[in-house]
Amino acid sequence: MTVMQIVKQLFGSMGITMEIFFVTLITSLILGLGLALVRMSKNPILSVIAKFYISVMRGTPLMLQLLVVYFGPFFIFGMQITPSYRLKAVLIGFALNYAAYFAEIYRSGIAAIPVGQYEAARMLGYSKTQTFAYIVMPQVIKRIIPPVANETITLVKDTSLAFTLAVAEVFTVTKQLVASQSSVVPFIVAGIFYYIFNLIVAVFFDYLEKKLDYYR
């Protein structure tokens, strides 16, 4: 098998990897913000629940979480698991896990906004929602870009954990090719794929950082 053929074989799996990446990134960035707000809420019960959730999600392996999400419906509720549920389980598991990490990043970003910003907004008559949307959040986004970029780069590599549930993403297919072809070339091709993917991610976040560099 030539390198070109290997790349062709891997091509479809790259689409799956990108799907896992983008779906996870978008859903976990949204879920994470909600989770951060619950974590920071004045209601102590809600706050403790969110804190516990984040602690469990960060304190146990993602691979284990994927298996729980996949097998859980069968073992706990006796539901029939179909093969099409594999990718969904991966997406759910990733989103739930990454939301926890992003929640902590949001929380640190929100906590870093000086109380004077809230007071100034209040003196000018902004509602709480307006203050959050127009005064706080834009400053939070600027502050959290570096840690979010870090997590995002980790996410690109973590998509390979989907092999646990035999989802046909790049890593799963690569392993199959290595076994069937008795060659390490697929590993190298996969490595280059992940590297270029992350290079693009890094360039994107650099651009974002520069774009928000107009104020301090």
């Binding site: 000086p114 004077g116 910003q117 007071e119 100034a120 907004a121 209040r122 003196m123 000018l124 008559g125 902004y126 307006q130 127009y134 005064i135 834009p138 400053q139 600027k142 107009y214 104020y215 301090r216």
Partner: protein, 251 residues
């Protein structure tokens, strides 16, 4: 016309009484200065007036509208809708400016009139430019706060407060974060506002300024008003605490 009346204000932080039965009032066009040593409660008084802090007991009345009143020894605040209206009566200039760093100078000034007061855009911008001119910052409208000196930032924050057309403007030690050179430019602006009959309440450490610009001076110490009256009376008071305090400011 009486714009603000605060009667028998009491406020404690963790059992520590910071305001012990304080009463002040401000009439239209009047400049009231509150002076006193650190920890005297003067800033707390201002934060209570602007409702950044809640009072424990007493009453706060703006233009005849009760923002808070005393009932069974506790302060009760008006309904949210009434407080929102009362909120529109006043503005506050902070010691640390608290400009929005992600907004340009002009956006800092125009955003609230547009977003909160929903006023006409071209009118708001025209007024904002007028205010900037008054503050000597007509060439800075597209600058961002970090590009400005402390004195310029404070002038923008005064313009931002004025753009809301408040009936009373509060200043919380407006020059304390500035070096002496920049202090003068802020005091000059406040003096100009006083000449235009802007009603102001100023918490300050600038004694000469308080003496020159105020119609009425309140000297606070340890949560009580020790001396109050016309500046010439307060600054020539025979009260020992007052004399001791002023003595620290004269070489």
């Amino acid at each position: 016309m009486r714009l603000l009346e605060m009667n028998h204000i009491k406020k404690s932080f963790d059992g520590q009484e910071v305001l012990k039965d304080i009463s002040i009032h401000v009439d239209e066009g009047e400049v009231l200065s509150i002076i006193g040593p650190s920890g005297s409660g003067k800033s707390t008084m201002l934060r209570c007036a602007t409702m950044l802090e809640t009072i424990d007991d007493g009453e706060i009345i703006y233009l005849g509208d009760k923002a808070a009143f005393s009932k069974d020894g506790h302060a009760v605040y008006a309904k949210a809708a009434d407080l929102k209206k009362i909120h529109g009566y006043y503005g506050l200039v902070f010691q640390n400016f608290n400009l929005f760093p992600h907004y340009s100078v002009i956006k800092n000034i125009t955003d609230a009139p547009l977003r909160v007061q929903k006023r006409n855009k071209s009118e708001v911008y025209a007024e904002a430019r007028e205010l900037l001119k008054k503050m000597g910052l007509e060439d800075k409208e597209n600058a961002y706060p970090y590009q400005l000196s402390g004195g310029q930032q404070q002038r923008v924050s005064i313009a931002r407060a004025l753009a809301m057309k408040p009936k009373i403007l509060f200043f919380d030690e407006p020059t304390s974060a500035l070096d002496p050179e920049l202090t003068g430019e802020i005091l000059k602006i406040i003096k100009n506002l006083a000449a235009e009959k802007m009603t102001m309440v100023i918490v300050t450490h600038e004694m000469n300024f308080a003496k020159n610009v105020s119609d009425y001076v309140v000297f606070m110490d340890k949560g009580v008003i020790v001396e109050e009256g016309k500046p010439e009376d307060v600054f020539n008071s025979e009260n020992p605490r007052m004399k001791e305090f002023l003595g620290k400011f004269e070489p």
